[in-house]
């Protein structure tokens, strides 16, 4: 597995994060540095509680670090205001979570349109058209008007992938995107995610426990005790 090529879109240096209070306070991230380039798929792997998801939320600007710096598309975001981080999430980032987190009272189409509505880059008919295309690209062109709770788990996760792509983000952050799916659906969702990201020259950073998924990524970054450890061969690293 060679070093990734392409422009840097997301970078962090010396990230620190503590969680909990008083005696329960844990140093979850201990000076983590990470770089993501366009067109590459990164897998962050490691045992539960090692800080993978915390790192992902830091990179996704969902949480503020206690130390260190984060750059997104060349802009320093770690010390920025809530409003700036919120705007950056809408413009540059797409999220896929383990529990898909669709708005179940809305249709698949409406779910995909939600980030676009906030971005206000397209008219409503354009948003609808884009949402339809995205849903077709994840194989749900015939279920655009199904309510979220009328879709299977795999279908919901595919809608979540389409939603993550909606605003043409630079980076897609996925936290165990296949963790809640069976083998077949896991493979399908991963293939979709990587194909769409490669097509659009986006970087994908995913946290996974699935060794098969990790093996298919461009780069694996193993973590332990809040730090990246030396990269081991994919099979040995993901076998934990």
């Amino acid at each position: 597995m060679s070093e990734a090529q392409g422009d840097v879109v997301l970078k962090c240096e010396g990230l620190h994060r503590y969680l909990g209070e008083a005696e329960g306070r844990v140093h979850v991230l201990r000076g983590v540095s990470f770089t993501a380039r366009r067109g590459n798929v990164y897998a962050i792997v490691g045992p539960s509680g090692c800080g993978k998801s915390t790192l992902l939320y830091q990179l996704g600007l969902l949480d503020q670090p206690d130390g260190g710096e984060i750059w997104l598309d060349g802009e320093l975001m770690s010390n920025s205001s809530d409003a700036a981080r919120t705007a950056a999430r809408n413009r540059h980032l797409g999220f896929v979570f383990q529990f898909h987190f669709l708005m179940l009272e809305f249709t698949a189409l409406e779910n995909v349109m939600m980030p676009m509505r906030k971005a206000e880059r397209w008219s409503v008919p354009e948003m609808e058209s884009r949402a339809r295309k995205l849903l077709e690209s994840v194989g749900l062109g015939d279920k655009t008007h199904r309510l979220g709770n009328h879709l299977s788990g795999g279908e919901q996760q595919r809608v979540a992938v389409a939603r993550a792509m909606a605003n043409e983000p630079s980076v897609i952050l996925a936290d165990e995107p296949t963790g809640n799916l069976d083998q077949k659906n896991s493979s399908m969702v991963f293939d979709l995610l990587t194909r769409l990201a490669k097509d659009h020259d986006q970087a994908i950073v995913l946290v996974t426990h699935n060794p098969d998924i990790a093996d298919r990524c461009d780069l694996i970054r193993p973590m332990r005790d809040g730090q990246f450890i030396e990269q081991a061969p994919p099979s040995a690293e993901t076998a934990e």
């Binding site: 969902l62 705007a87 999430r89 999220f95």
Partner: protein, 393 residues
Amino acid sequence: MSLSCIVLGVGLFVITQATTSGFEKFFIRTILGTNGAVRIADKMQDTMGNMFANPEASSMVFRREERKYIEGIDEPDLLIKALQPFANVAAVSQVVTGTVTAESSFKEETAKIYGINLDDHIAVSDLEHQIIRGDIATYRVSPLGIMIGRVLADRLRVDPGDSIALKTREQNRRYTIVAIYETGVADIDKDRIYTHLSEARSLLKKTTGASFLQVGLIEPNRAPADAFLMEETLNHSATSWQEREKTWLEVFRALRISSAITVSVFTLIAGLAMFNTLAMIVMEKTKDIAILRSMGYTRDDVLQIFLWQAVIVLCIGSILGCILGASGTYLVSTVPVRITGIFATETFIVASSWGHYVGAVVTAVCTVMLASIVPARRAARLEPGDVIRGTAL
């Protein structure tokens, strides 16, 4: 839950306001229709007035310490003329009163005769519309015709066409009952007998003067100010209907406060229900809030979502509440209830007003929006990372 509480709050607000103000307005109408807006009676004589300097205010202060009244009005025509410059005065009726004994074939009752000029008195009262038996037109053409109250007629067991004797210490005259009226005010209906003014003067041997002047006003609510002016300029006691009926008006005021408290409780419950509902929704929707925030929706967007939710519930609740209030008010107005004493009615009296609906909706808006702010702000303050971490791990 919150919707039904808002509906009930708004609906009950409208109904209670309509019923409370209905009885109050009806009472005021009855009072104005019987005793008029202002009554000018006894002549006033200053027995002692003093004037002293107020050192603190550096001004002259007049104080009337005591007033002496001479019963009745000596020159009613002059007073009526003096009332003409009062812009708010609509009409004036001079009345001569006196106590008599009314004797029918069955019974004797003490009564008060009111000598009036019919047209003048109709202009300052609702007498024309208070006739329940007989005919006021007959009274007009019958010099010895009288009109008596329903309670007195029942006690004497007389009907229009019957005759009764009215006795004073010196005279005993027979009159024909041409009409029976009912004001609803028991004190009036049980002892008041209307006769022609000239006949009353003759029977009571009051050839000049009047017992009082009954004044009708264009705007009865201005009666206290007008009465004060009349008293000062005419040198006769002048009493407004608000002063005369102070006790009953206080009762109605207490009722209004009581109903306002009841309504406030409902509105408070509506507010608490709204707070509870939104707080529950915020708890249930933390995941959705986090997702919206991760997509780039701001804290203000989240705040607005919850406030809009409150606004939608509020709008639906207010509309349904107004419909409930209107239909409830109508239903209440059909409830049979026989009330006499201070006024007479066969059904519940209601007075619908746009003001009640506006008041109900404004109260609901204030309560619900206040109750919604806290949970909506709590939703907006949620950190997406905390929510997702808590759910995902």
